[in-house]
């Protein structure tokens, strides 16, 4: 029997030829779809390509009509590009490594509108972008933005959930502690066995009253009884010390209830949408959502870069390719001095920042060292774009264990996006102005700044909003202001960020608010304090009384026991002195 089926070679060759032909016909389409799928997975929003052509002979890949949707805004693109031409190193493709020596990107346009929602559903467990998006959103939620409600002139007194008040659980805990202390002290008193000691001393005293000075046994019993009484008093003293400490702790707990109540007042104040009258808080209330959105986006891209460009050379797993079968995990095994899985050595970028302008200006930028394995490449990823009125630069340094990411951009003379001020039921159109964003993340220490300057601010009012005298006054105040200066900053760590926002509007609004809402604020504060008192006092008062009662009771009992011991000892010592006194004839 022959092992090889020789006559099947021809069909196999034909089959191989058909496969090659199909690849030749479909390679561009397959590569386009793969690029769209990979891009969408990386960015977390739809990546669409109109045409892609692979020229193996020249080692070129040309992408036409690239559209990358924004993962943050439904009907907006992150950018569009007319054409990308990549000069690819062919040999590393055999190692499944993509090395782009040079990329030329022409006609980049940022923030263009789109007809459909380009965001992909956030799946925090399934994809890297989904997880990073969820983390960035959670991070943005950490900022406590004070609410400002004044356009209707009414202060909303919201529902106060008793489960979120800290004084109530504190009172319950203190009550439990008081009960526990009472049981402990009761057990301590019982274990002293004072009654037996005092009874024994009383019996000895009775015997001693009928005894003579020569009755040495009775005298000895009396001295022993006195010694026992002294020991019992020592035990009482020890217990007293414990009780004194315990009572002090309980009293501190009662004082802590007052502190918890103060915190509840503050918490309720935040909940009740009470307009703040402090200028810094007004800045936060007005511009924090816009500022946090900017920082959240910067954090998203930075963390996404860290996820796809991790430091180190250890094997690392990432989600496998999407397919009908389970994707599994694909593990990368970077090796020192070997090529990284992906490397874009140099990219020349030509872009427009304000494509809707009558005469959009063209800018040029340069990106170097974008790689999936920074430790192998050994240099940080750099981006720079410089032109009159535009300065932008970024550095992603993931070469060492602690990643350092820095980005900064200043753009002058471009249209700054409209800022909605829902708290005021107004919108602010900065028009042509200057926008600045600085973002630095070293490890998990963040330092970011966002600033806007404009001298031609246009104000618009929500026509559907309910009018009120206060809102009208505020409108008249603000609509006369044509300058805008907003400065927002975040410092601290990712887990404990601190946000500061200042604007030139803060003082104006604060002064107007004081005039308009002073009385109402005071009334609202009284209402909320009453509401907190109503919910908290029934929980606190019994505990306070219980602690006071316990203190009185336990102190009295200890004093009583001590008095009985003292009296018994005194009687015994007195009788003993009488018996042992030397009487002269």
């Amino acid at each position: 029997m022959r092992i090889v089926r020789w006559r099947a070679i021809t069909p196999l060759l034909v089959f191989t030829a058909i496969g090659a032909l199909l690849w030749w016909l479909l390679a561009d389409r397959l590569a386009r779809r793969a690029a769209e799928a990979v891009g969408t997975a990386i960015v977390g929003a739809k990546v669409e390509i109109q045409g892609l052509h692979i020229d193996l002979a020249k080692g070129d890949v040309t992408v036409r009509g690239l559209t990358v949707a924004s993962p943050h805004e439904a009907l907006k693109n992150l950018f569009q590009a007319d054409e990308l031409v990549a000069d690819i190193d062919m040999l590393p493709l055999l190692e499944k490594k993509v090395i782009i020596d040079r990329l030329a990107a022409n006609g980049l346009r940022f923030g263009t509108p789109r007809a459909t929602d380009g965001r992909v559903p956030v799946d925090s467990s399934g994809s890297v972008s989904g997880r990073v998006m969820t983390e960035a959103r959670d991070w943005a939620q950490r900022f406590q933005v004070p609410a400002l409600q004044l356009a209707t002139g009414k202060i909303d007194v919201g529902t106060l959930d008793p489960r979120r008040l800290s004084a109530i659980p504190a009172a319950e805990a203190l009550s439990a502690r008081a009960d526990s202390s009472r049981r402990t002290w009761q057990t301590g008193l019982d274990s002293l066995r004072l009654a037996a000691t005092i009874d024994s001393a009383t019996a000895t005293l009775t015997r001693l009253r009928g005894a003579r000075a020569t009755d040495l046994a009775a005298l000895s019993d009396a001295r022993r009884a006195i010694e026992q009484l002294k020991q019992a008093r020592g035990r009482v003293t020890a217990l007293e010390r414990g009780v004194t400490g315990g009572l002090a702790a309980l009293r501190a707990g009662v004082a802590g209830l007052d502190s918890a109540k103060q915190r509840d007042y503050a918490f309720a104040r935040g909940l009740l949408k009470l307009p703040t009258l402090d200028a810094p808080e007004i800045g936060l209330a007005l511009f924090a959502p816009s500022a946090v959105a900017q920082f959240q986006r910067a954090l998203y891209w930075t963390q996404l870069a860290r996820a796809h460009m991790p430091p180190g050379l250890l094997p690392r797993a990432e989600q496998g390719p999407p397919r009908v079968r389970r994707s599994g995990s694909t593990v990368r095994f970077p090796r020192e001095h070997a090529l990284p899985g992906f490397l874009l050595r140099t990219a020349e970028l030509s872009f427009q920042l304000d494509p809707t302008a009558p005469q959009p200006k063209r800018y040029a930028g340069r990106l170097t060292g974008l790689t999936s394995d920074p430790a192998l490449y050994g240099r940080p990823t750099l981006f720079e774009a410089s032109a009159p009125a535009v300065t932008a630069a970024a550095m992603l340094d993931h070469v060492h264990a602690t990643a350092r990411d820095t980005a900064g951009a200043t753009v002058q003379g471009v249209r700054v996006p409209l800022i909605q001020l829902p708290a005021l039921l107004m919108a602010l159109d900065p028009g042509q102005g200057t926008a600045q964003l600085g973002f630095a993340l070293r490890g998990d220490t963040i330092r970011a700044r966002w600033a806007i300057r404009s001298t031609h601010v246009q104000w618009s009012r929500d026509s559907a909003a309910q009018r009120s005298t206060g809102a009208d006054l505020l409108w008249r105040t603000l609509s006369g202001i044509s300058d805008l200066q907003v400065d927002a900053g975040v410092t601290g760590t990712l887990s404990q960020p601190r946000l500061v926002v200042r604007s030139n509007l803060d003082a104006a609004i604060a002064a107007r608010l004081r005039t308009m809402l002073g009385e109402e604020v005071a009334a609202a504060e009284r209402r909320l304090r009453a509401e907190v008192d109503r919910q908290v006092d029934p929980a606190i008062a019994p505990v306070r009384a219980r602690v006071t009662g316990l203190q009185t009771e336990i102190t009295a009992r200890l004093a009583q026991q001590r008095a009985r011991l003292d009296q018994a000892q005194k009687d015994l010592e007195s009788r003993l002195r009488e018996l042992t006194r030397i009487r002269l004839p």
């Binding site: 029997m1 022959r2 092992i3 090889v4 089926r5 099947a8 070679i9 069909p11 196999l12 089959f15 040999l91 055999l94 190692e95 499944k96 490594k97 094997p315 797993a317 496998g320 390719p321 397919r323 079968r325 389970r326 994707s327 599994g328 995990s329 694909t330 593990v331 990368r332 095994f333 970077p334 090796r335 070997a338 090529l339």
Partner: protein
């Protein structure tokens, strides 16, 4: 339903092919690799070429493929676990690192947990499957095979056009 009918057709044809039980078993065992591992992998091109070039039962291979595709889906969690264990075994890291940085080898997707786990499983499973199938086919042909061959529906199946295509790849004696 059509899939089931085709599967039955393949089974009948394979069992009654002119090939020896060993050829049929080898075909099924090779086909099982196609079914157990993710299809679009470089190693499966090699397995397919072996099926075509080696004197094994081609219908047997197709039968093995068809039979083991659902089993592959069912065992994917196991494959994932096997692959994960292997790829993250520290003593094997230098070996995998060498493979990963070698030309062509990364194109096999060996560094995917499901691909590696299923390939290792199917290779280990290859010989037991081969011997069990060879024994089973021999027993079938010795017992009820002839009666099935004489039945009317068997003749209907073998008269179909597909059967002519099959004859091109039938094992040679």
């Amino acid at each position: 339903m059509l899939t089931l009918v085709k599967l039955l057709q393949s089974l009948v044809k394979a069992l009654h092919s002119e090939g020896t039980p060993g050829q049929l078993a080898a075909g099924i065992a090779l086909g099982s690799i196609l079914g157990l591992t993710p299809l679009l992998s470089l190693h499966n091109a090699i397995v397919f070429a072996l099926i075509v070039l080696l004197n094994v039962s081609f219908p047997g291979a197709m039968l093995g493929w068809a039979l083991f595709v659902p089993i592959g889906f069912l065992l994917d969690p196991l494959f994932d676990s096997i692959g994960h264990t292997l790829l993250f075994t520290p003593s094997l890291t230098p070996f995998f690192t060498s493979l990963y940085n070698m030309p062509v080898v990364p194109l096999t997707n060996f560094n995917n947990t499901v691909t590696l786990g299923s390939l290792v499983f199917s290779v280990v499973f290859f010989l037991p499957l081969f011997f069990a199938t060879r024994w089973g086919v021999a027993r079938y042909r010795a017992t009820i095979g002839e009666r099935v061959r004489q039945s009317k529906w068997y003749r209907t199946v073998t008269a179909s056009k597909l059967y002519n295509v099959y004859r091109l790849f039938r094992p040679e004696a």
